[in-house]
């Protein structure tokens, strides 16, 4: 405990608050993308994408059967990476 400087109680609380607000922002952006690729491109906006052909069908079909899954993977790894950075930035990581 004495090996490095412990911030005062108030600033720990402040750090936690900012950390959580940052987390919410990352989640909101990620879930927006999550919804757009699956419910959006895959289902609701599929007619708008019907002009873009891909292997015998259209882009919306690809998003519904493959594209959304690939984007989901990227979203989770990106979230893990960003949160690791935030954990350290606000000094809340597991030591």
């Amino acid at each position: 405990m004495s090996s490095h400087n412990e911030p005062a109680a108030g600033s720990v609380e402040e750090a936690r608050r900012k950390y959580w607000a940052a987390n919410i922002r990352v989640i909101a952006w990620s879930l927006a993308v999550w919804a757009i690729v699956s419910f959006g491109f895959g289902i609701l906006f599929r007619p708008l994408l019907s002009g873009i052909p891909i292997g015998g069908t259209d882009l919306g079909f690809w998003f519904a059967q493959q594209g959304s899954i690939l984007v989901f993977i990227v979203l989770i790894f990106n979230y893990a990476r960003v949160m690791n950075k935030l954990d350290r930035q606000y000094n809340l990581d597991e030591q």
Binding site: S38, I43, G55, G56, T57, S68, E94
Partner: protein, 596 residues
């Protein structure tokens, strides 16, 4: 070598492996039994989660579900993967930080209410038991087809193996067997798919083959498929025929339900750190995607394959002759599967040929009249055959068939074990230690966990042997319930400090009862046929929503009721607000681990 011997070698070999792992990974403490001492590497946990999650439904049924419906059933693909995004961002890291053993335990502490904990136990047990029945019947079917034993004997052997490694090893044993099971099932699913993709498109990667050129016709595969099946009066494979709102809500229900299933959530209690829980969800989805990107390709290719086999001269030529089916080795699989009653054909008009077409389509009825057809003659084609018979349809070597047998069993057993662990944890930790005997010793709790596990295996086996007529229906219910009752309460427990004990209980019960009643109104009360008040169709249903899509609405009601009730009653105490703060911050997760 005889096919039977090959199947026996593959299944026997995989079972010996699981038992070997169980002996090596015995659990010695409750921390090992419930959470593998939180020492599982995130990638290893990812593979175990993938096997835990991918059940007989994913392995055996999903490709068939997509093959016979096409685009509209993409809901399964997006729904069963999109839930992992919710899990990674909204639940897993915080529940790992909380650092306890079961899902109801979190509900009980966060909402400072033993009632909330017991409602959680109830939701968990209903969802998990209905799910486990499907796995056990799957084990029986796989055994009886590939090892020529009766359904009952097959089920008992499977239950015996699960009993051995789950009771002995708990989470620790289950984790490492699930990793082995993942390897078996992914190989079994991928190898035949690669062969078929090569045969049809020349592309060795099925996911790419789906969007490639069909070698035989020179057209893109999906275009060819659309053409061939619309010629026979079926709806377009890539077209959107169903109701859009239902498709959206069904997809959403599957996503929320996936994130709320307790047996998946507890897998994330086994990793050492909060950051590992996030990462592990990503790895789980990578391992799941390997199967989920292949499954739609298998579905489309198998549909095209079967249609071509039934119309060897093309859809404008003559249908396949009965004589050909009997004599040509390419049709041997039809004979084999006919014996299981999952496949049936009948030359209704006696012209010596089997006409396969959509006899419900008015245009086709005219065509049929002109040609003297008297109805679709491929009278039965169970969608589950698609994956299981795939190697035979594509004329693949015997060892691939043996591998499929071992893969189907691995998928069913790994999910069954995960579900049984969730149930036994809820019984021994939440019910016995949490409510009945809080002073129980560590050894007493470990023993009671093992007894609960043993009893769960026996009940699951009994229900697998005597499945209630509604077994298949209840799986859909399990998702709806997890979506409407468990997911919202967990999310509110983490993301707001203001939802209190009364709000949580009211919300959970509203979600649970609303979903249950809506499903019963459309599927029959307790699934008894004929007791439903509304037909389960888009137009006839109460809210214009089918029973499978209602979970998302139940979840929304849960959130709304919880907020309103919390607003009207007193705010959460300070120590609960502190608890929420601590759950939100990763620091100290390792210390929480040392407490146990």
């Amino acid at each position: 070598m005889d096919q039977y011997v090959i199947n026996l070698l593959f299944v026997g070999g995989s079972f010996a492996l699981y038992i070997g792992i169980a002996i090596w990974a015995r659990a010695g403490s409750t921390a090992e039994f419930y959470a593998a001492s939180r020492g599982v590497h995130p990638v290893v946990n990812g593979a175990a989660t993938a096997a835990d999650w991918m059940s007989a439904a994913s392995f055996i049924s999903m490709a068939g579900l997509i093959a016979f419906v096409g685009y509209d059933n993409s809901s399964f693909l997006m729904g069963w993967t999109g839930g992992y995004v919710l899990l990674a961002m909204l639940l897993a890291p915080y529940l790992r930080k909380f650092g306890k053993f079961t899902v109801p335990e979190f509900i009980g502490e966060r909402f400072y209410s033993p009632t909330a904990r017991m409602v959680g136990v109830l939701c968990l047990i209903i969802a998990s038991i209905t799910y486990v029945i499907g796995q056990m019947t799957g084990v029986g079917v796989a055994f009886s087809r590939f090892l020529e034993v009766s359904n009952t004997v097959g089920l008992l052997i499977g239950a015996g193996v699960v009993f051995f490694y789950a009771v002995l090893g708990g989470m620790k044993g289950i984790t490492y067997t699930q990793v082995a099971q993942y390897c078996v099932l992914i190989l079994a699913f991928t190898i035949p798919a690669v062969f078929i993709s090569l045969q049809l498109t020349g592309n060795p990667i099925p996911a790419l083959g789906l969007f490639s050129e069909h070698t035989a016709s020179g057209q893109p595969l999906l275009e060819r498929l659309d053409e061939v099946i619309t010629d026979l009066g079926f709806s377009e494979y890539t077209g959107h025929g169903g109701d859009t709102l239902n498709m959206v809500l069904f997809t959403l229900s599957l996503m929320i339900g996936t994130a709320g299933l307790p047996h998946v959530i507890i897998r994330f209690f086994t990793v050492p750190k909060v950051s590992d829980a996030r990462l592990s969800a990503g790895w789980a989805l990578v391992f799941i995607a390997l199967l989920y990107l292949t499954a739609p390709a298998v579905g489309a290719m198998a549909r095209l394959n079967i249609t071509d086999l039934m119309w060897p001269e093309g859809t404008s030529g003559q249908a396949v002759a009965v004589e050909t089916i009997q004599n040509d080795p390419a049709y041997d699989w039809m004979e084999t599967w006919q014996q299981t009653n999952l496949l049936a054909f009948e030359d209704k008009n006696g012209d010596g040929r089997i006409q396969y077409y959509n006899s419900d389509n008015p245009e086709m009825q005219e065509v049929a009249e002109q040609n003297g057809w008297e109805g679709n003659e491929l009278t039965k084609f169970n969608r589950d055959i698609l994956v299981l018979a795939n190697p035979e349809i594509a004329n693949l070597p015997g060892w691939v068939i043996g591998l499929i047998a071992a893969g189907g069993l691995a998928a069913a057993l790994s999910t069954a074990a995960g579900l049984l662990l969730a149930i036994s944890g809820a019984v021994s930790h939440d019910l016995i230690r949490g409510a009945i005997n809080p002073n129980i010793s560590e050894r007493g709790e470990l023993l009671s966990a093992r007894v609960a596990m043993a009893v769960s295996v026996v009940i699951a086996t009994y229900l697998g042997l005597n499945p209630p007529g509604f077994a298949a229906e209840t799986v859909a219910l399990a998702f709806g319930l997890a979506a409407a009752s468990i997911f919202p309460v967990l999310m509110m427990g983490i993301f707001t400090k203001h939802v209190n004990n009364r709000g949580a209980v009211a919300g959970m019960l509203t979600g649970l009862i609303f979903t249950l009643v809506y499903v019963f109104l459309h599927k029959g009360w307790l699934f008894i046929e004929g007791t439903n008040q509304f037909p389960d169709t888009v137009d006839g249903s109460l809210l214009g929503l089918k029973a499978t899509a209602i979970g998302a609405v139940g979840a929304l009601l849960n959130f709304v009721v919880a907020f309103i009730v919390s607003k009207m009653t007193e705010d959460t105490p300070q120590e609960i607000k502190d608890l929420v703060d601590s759950v939100r911050s990763p620091r100290g997760a390792a210390a929480a681990q040392a407490d146990h």
